[in-house]
């Protein structure tokens, strides 16, 4: 059974019983049912942040596209908070807490992995959006006293990332490459 996602307007809703939750750009989701999969496709410069809560076995994922929500003048941070690092991580944590991941947010209970943040072959600073996403994500995590225990970031690799609830490792794939684990 999936937990009902409270913020209906900006969460992906899937039929109960579907074991794979697809997390689109700017979406987030979490599950504590062993065997469920959280998956996000082709990250490019986007970054997937995967947060595990140890005592409940809940795993959450958010697909961050941009570092900072202040650029949006149309209230995107409200309709799709997962889109930005500064709103996505707090929203995912809040959502996980609503699923029973209670207690103070600390390294002893929460562990974080990140993947993505790629770029094209470029020297242009403003196009290093992947790197800037990673930087912003690490800053936000730091404000919670968290830091990623594993990261597969950068390079010119568009990563597809998935994790099965109950397992430790994240699967990473990319066209014309063998799958690897994180």
């Amino acid at each position: 059974m999936y937990e009902v996602i409270i913020e209906i307007n900006f969460c992906i809703l899937l039929q109960t019983g579907d074991p794979i939750k697809i997390i689109g750009i700017g979406d987030f989701g979490a599950s504590n049912s062993t065997g469920d999969t959280l998956k996000t496709f082709a990250l490019g410069s986007c970054v997937a942040v995967i947060i595990s809560h140890k005592s409940t076995g809940t795993i959450g994922m958010v697909h961050v596209a941009l570092p900072d929500s202040s650029i949006s003048r149309t209230g995107k941070a409200k309709t799709k908070p997962g889109y930005f690092a500064d709103t996505g991580i707090p929203t995912l944590l809040k959502h996980m807490r609503s699923m029973g991941c209670v207690g103070p947010v600390s390294k002893s209970q929460f562990s974080v992995k990140i993947a993505g943040g790629a770029s094209v072959l470029s020297c242009s600073d403003i196009f290093q959006i992947g790197r800037k996403n990673v930087y912003a994500i690490k800053n936000i995590l730091d404000s919670y006293g968290l830091n990623p225990i594993a990261a597969d970031i950068g390079g010119n690799i568009s990563r597809t990332v998935s994790i099965v609830i109950g397992s430790e490792k994240i699967s990473v794939t990319s066209p014309a490459r063998e799958e690897w684990k994180l």
Partner: protein, 287 residues
């Protein structure tokens, strides 16, 4: 890197294959000529569409889609065209007017079905939006059309890549070859931009579209008069790949030419906002 036995011979075969590509539907061809005119008129588009009943049906269908939320049905092409706009007309005309080229699964690039069209559409939307940041005027409609067509050469090159894209990726990672564009040239004797240019000539596309296709990975080599729009589509292509909309194994393995800033004036905040807007627009039209 393993280089195919004879790149020259392969290039000859590929360029010969261009001649077998089905021609563009006559209405799609005429629509592109109109887009290229200095002042594309809705009336002229309407006249072409009217004589092509499958296209008329598709355009009416789009105008009556839920997206426009109209209470009464749009039954005439005169109403439908201004409602959906020029980009939508181009999108619909090209998707149905180039037989099933965009539907092709780019197996040589390890692409999956549907990916090619999504990449092109994403690049088209991005190019349209980037056009408004041109230091001089860049036609958003031509930028959109160029974005849709820029990778058309991949539809042919894909079949000749066989199983080597994995080796190309490894070679780029090891620094043996600098990018995918270079790898295609070395392996096949010709790259997808050049093959696309040949397709564009075969289709008699306006010169500006031929140049966008030919130079989208090497914009600095484009003739001076076309540089602003070539750089515009160059960036549109890159933004599509950065958003994860590529065509398979070559995604992101292309260089960004920083000299774009001679033609496009884009601040960091504007770029972020642009990415957001491209995402929103893509959600609307990707059906």
């Amino acid at each position: 890197m393993e280089v195919m036995k004879n790149p020259k011979e392969t290039a000859r075969k590929i360029l010969n294959a261009v001649k077998t590509v089905p021609v563009l539907s006559s209405s799609a061809g005429r629509i592109l000529q109109i887009i290229d005119s200095s002042n594309p008129s809705i009336a002229a588009l309407v006249n072409i569409i009217r004589n092509d009943s499958p296209l008329t049906a598709n355009i009416l269908k789009a105008a009556n889609s839920a997206f426009y939320g109209l209470r009464s049905e749009v039954s005439s092409i005169d109403q439908a065209v201004p409602l959906i706009g020029i980009d939508e007309v181009v999108r619909i005309a090209l998707r149905s007017g180039v037989s099933d080229v965009f539907e092709k699964e780019l197996t040589g690039y390890k692409g999956v079905a549907g990916e090619f069209w999504k990449h092109d559409l994403r690049a088209a939307i991005a190019s349209h939006k980037i056009a408004s940041y041109g230091r001089i005027y860049i036609s958003p409609e031509i930028a959109f059309t160029g974005g849709l067509l820029h990778d058309i050469g991949k539809a042919i090159v894909s079949s000749y890549l066989g199983d080597v894209s994995k080796k190309i990726v490894e070679a780029i990672d090891r620094g043996v070859v600098k990018d995918f564009h270079e790898a295609e040239k070395r392996l096949l004797g010709v790259d997808h931009a050049m093959v696309g240019f040949e397709v564009a000539r075969h289709w008699n596309l306006p010169e500006i579209l031929q140049n966008i296709i030919r130079y989208h990975h090497t914009p600095s080599e484009a003739p001076e008069m076309f540089k602003p729009i070539v750089y515009c589509v160059h960036l549109g292509d890159i933004l599509a790949m950065m958003a994860g909309y590529g065509t398979g194994s070559d995604t992101l393995y292309y260089p960004l030419d920083d000299r774009y800033s001679d033609f496009i004036d884009l601040s960091e905040d504007e770029l972020h906002l642009l990415i957001l807007e491209i995402d929103e627009k893509f959600e609307q039209v990707n059906y």
